[in-house]
Structures are given as structure tokens and as C-alpha cells.
Amino acid sequence: MMPIPLSWWLTVSAALFSIGVYGALSRKNAIGILMGIELVLNAVNINLVAFWRYIAPTDISGQVFAIIVITVAAAEAAVGLAIIIALYRRRQTAVVDDLDLLKN
């Protein structure tokens, strides 16, 4: 018998997901938004690993998916930060609201 029920993990994951979404919606700085997105991806991984452990422990696919998510997150963060840095060099800002060239 496992000492921690599956629903605890899922609740924690839901909390992390919601906090991450809040961060992505409420921050005005691109790096702040990116950190919120990283929290969401961690919530995804908690779910995947918990499902693997509780529902299909003999089939490793949940862990495989989690590792792929981590790798993709790294690639995404690298490109995202490169875009942010390149823009910062030009504009001295990474505040999304300050980026208003593209309006009618």
C-alpha cells in the first residue's frame, strides 16, 4: 500500500499548474512569464511521473515522456532567452507592455 494517495500528487500538480498560469498571466516581464511557464511544465511532469508510478508502473512511457518534456523545456528556454536578450540589447526592456511598435 502506498503511503501517499495518488490524489495528493495530482492536487499538488494542479496547484503548481495554477500558480504557473497565474505567473504567466500576471507578470509584465518576459522572463517572469517564462518562469511561470516553467512551473506549468513541472506540474505536467509531476502528473506524468505520478501516473506512471500509480497506474502503469510496468510501462516506462510516463518517465520517457517526462524526460522529453524536460529536454524540450531546456531548448525552449534557450531560444526564448536568446530572443529576450536580443530584444533587450535593442530596446533596453523586456517588459511586454512596452513593446508597442506593432499596433495600428
Binding site: A15, I19, V21, R27, Y54, P57, S61, A74
Partner: protein, 176 residues
């Protein structure tokens, strides 16, 4: 009742400590007025999640989490913040104008998710992971998951090419 060390719910205690790290860190990430502190809270939160993986008997994943997430992604974010000093924004309000609107939206989202995950009867199997999960992972990556494994390398090449191109110092003459 005599004291019995085996009665201490050690796993649960560890779970709550890790939850304090993960959730507490996450709240710090989204609420700290200083972006640099946010990034440090992110490291704390990622540590908490790595602890979860240990509790879930996914030790390899815990190591990956520490190396890639804490070691690479979080550090990269810290570097980016330090590179662009004005991003730290000490004392500045880091929230946009709609933050008060997102709070209730996220509350509803959370309520729905918690409601769903606690009502569904998950097909929990009592089975334990068989054998060495590290070896199983290796077999999976070179067996059934060969294509995602190979495609990840393409993805990383794309990120490498794109990242280097964009972040290079030299920018040619301006053209509004």
C-alpha cells in the same frame, strides 16, 4: 502508547516538506517584486519537484531534474537576468495591469482541476516498478521510443542554431 519509530509517517513528512519547497517556491516565483529573487525561488521549487521524483521512485528523473532544470535552465535564467541588469526591477511593480483579473480566473481553474482529479476513479494498480528503471529507460529510448529520442536531437539542433543566431553580439546597421 510506547514510542515506536516505525510508526512515524516518514514518507508523508518528507512529502509535506517537499510540498512546502515546491509550492512555497512557486508562490515566491510569481509574487516576488525582484526578478532575481523570483529566479532563486524557482530553484527552490525545482528542488522540491526533484524530491517528489525520489518519493515516486523515479531516481533517475530526479537527477535529470537537478542537472537539466536546476543546473541548466534555472542558471540560464539567472544569467539572463544578471546580463540585463535593468530586468531585476528592484522596487518596481512586476505585475501588469490585468493581474487582479487573472487571480480569480486561476482560482476557478484550480478549483475545477482539484474537483476533477479527486472525483475521477483512477485505475490505480498496486504493482511495483519492475527491475531497474534506468535500464528500462535505456531500452525504451533505443527501442519503442527510438523516434522521439532521435527527433529530440533535431530539436536541440534547431534550438542551438536559432539561439546562436539570435544572441550573437554583432548587429548590422539599423533600419527602423
Amino acid at each position: 502508547m510506547p514510542f515506536d519509530p516505525s510508526q512515524i509517517p516518514i514518507v508523508q513528512i518528507v512529502f509535506f516538506v517537499m510540498t512546502a519547497c515546491a509550492i512555497g517556491g512557486a508562490i515566491g516565483v510569481v509574487s516576488s517584486p525582484n526578478l532575481f529573487h523570483s529566479a532563486l525561488y524557482l530553484v527552490l521549487s525545482l528542488f522540491g519537484v526533484a524530491g517528489y521524483y525520489v518519493l515516486l521512485s523515479a531516481g533517475f528523473l530526479a537527477v535529470v531534474q537537478l542537472m537539466v532544470y536546476v543546473g541548466a535552465i534555472a542558471i540560464l535564467i539567472l544569467f539572463a537576468i544578471m546580463f540585463a541588469r535593468r530586468l531585476m526591477g528592484q522596487g518596481e511593480n512586476q505585475n501588469n495591469q490585468q493581474w487582479w483579473l487573472s487571480l480569480p480566473i486561476v482560482m476557478i481553474l484550480f478549483a475545477v482541476l482539484v474537483g476533477v482529479v479527486n472525483t475521477v476513479s483512477w485505475p490505480v494498480s498496486g504493482a511495483e516498478p519492475t527491475g531497474d528503471t534506468v535500464m528500462e529507460l535505456g531500452h525504451a529510448f533505443l527501442g519503442s521510443y527510438l523516434i522521439p529520442f532521435e527527433v529530440v536531437s533535431i530539436l536541440l539542433s534547431v534550438a542551438l542554431i536559432g539561439g546562436i543566431f539570435l544572441a550573437r553580439e554583432k548587429v548590422e546597421a539599423e533600419e527602423a
